[in-house]
Symmetry: C2
Subunit: 220 residues, 2 copies
DNA sequence: TTAAAATATGAGTAATCACTCACTTTTTTA
DNA sequence: TAAAAAAGTGAGTGATTACTCATATTTTAA
């Protein structure tokens, strides 16, 4: 019901590094947990159900993870450990001035990159979104990490585009608050709320959204 | 755990009409339930907790609502019964050609109107958003009702603006899919995800978002 | 090969869950 | 005012929950 530590994500992200390799049963547990959490949510999934779906004794779950809460963390952490640095890398590469990237290209690349990543990890993405709605501490801690690892790069990208006159001279925080929710809401709709994905290619979908963002932000 | 009827919202919206007046205790139950559901979510709230917080015997809850699930419905339905028609009315009034409203004015009015309404019903809004993330049937049924009651008005508004050259000649569904998630995500961020509201007046906030939407959609 | 360590098991446990029901109290009706 | 109806109560119920632990099996190490 309640998180006991005060800095879960920090702790998680560092601890997860020194974890030994998973056993076969551990992987099956994680698989079943992800599928069930994604579909019914953490609170509506019982450990006995996870045990049954993964063909493992219930005790095995607690041998490895101690608590149900820790199992959730074991699901979320590797996803965030991948997600944040990959996004930072992508941002960094796309703003490389040698590419002479327009702001539009930057947004498009970012959008398509995250689209692919979230699709490949659709179930975990669903788990993360659903749990983040409920847990404020997770949200604020994630925000802290995003600030630390990504916002610096984003600021560079925005400043670069400002210099080329593609963005209005507004604080970056202001611009991000307008742009980011829009892109993210599209992912939530597509991967969490919609029953099935549209059969339009990503590039077509991206085009409309990128144009909307680029033209929308230009005159704010 | 599971909804038993196949058409909950339809049934709810009609049934709720002929409900007699609430007793004092019923109102206290609803109040406590809304607060608890909003904070911890439906699944993480127990009926005994609701009873305690409302100063009522647990049996009283079940006397009135039968099941915990029905209590949730009793919370959500009046909100939707207010929300949808009010939105339809607002849309209808703002597109009245005698007002010579620009598309920008229409979006601004809509945004400010919903902002006020959701703020006044912040807790219920949080309950609805949190539960809609989990329940697909609720989402699809709400969508059906929105289509029935609102989309007609929205189409009129969009066609009207198209005629004035303020919108590109694209299918209305396409335009709505670009505009609506953006506005809604701003409400979710503000009322569900953020710890506290910004101290900027609504009109200032609206200005940035409306400009973003209007300019974004113009060249899609 | 064998001892030790790690992994796996499932019956068992206390707590909590949504919900029931026989009963009392309050309100409505006639 | 008396009878009927409605509202309110709280101890009790079976089911389910997350979690434990003594024991068994498998893997690793010497």
């Amino acid at each position: 019901m309640e998180m006991s530590t005060h800095n879960i994500l920090d702790q998680m992200l560092s601890e997860a590094k020194l974890s030994k390799k998973d056993t076969a049963k551990q992987q099956r547990i994680l698989h079943a947990a992800i599928a069930l959490f994604a579909e019914k949510g953490f609170a509506n999934t019982s450990t006995s159900e996870i045990a049954k779906n993964s063909g493992v004794a219930e005790g095995t779950i607690f041998r490895h993870y101690g608590t149900k809460e820790n199992l959730l963390i074991a699901v979320i952490v590797p996803f965030l450990k991948q997600s944040l640095p990959m996004m930072a890398k992508e941002v960094f590469e796309e703003i490389n001035p040698s590419k002479h990237a327009r702001f539009e290209d930057f947004i498009r690349a970012l959008f398509l990159n995250r689209m692919r990543f979230f699709r490949e990890n659709k179930d975990i993405f669903r788990v993360v979104v659903k749990e983040f709605v409920y847990r404020e501490e997770l949200r604020t801690e994630l925000l802290t990490h995003v600030n630390k690892e990504i916002v610096g790069y984003l600021n560079q990208a925005l400043d670069y585009s400002k210099g080329k006159g593609e963005l209005p001279d507004r604080p970056n925080g202001y611009l991000l608050k307008l742009i980011f929710p829009y892109i993210f809401s599209q992912f939530v709709i597509r991967f969490v709320l919609s029953a099935k994905e549209p059969d339009v290619p990503d590039e077509v979908e991206a085009d409309a959204i990128v144009k909307f963002v680029v033209n929308g932000i230009r005159s704010c």
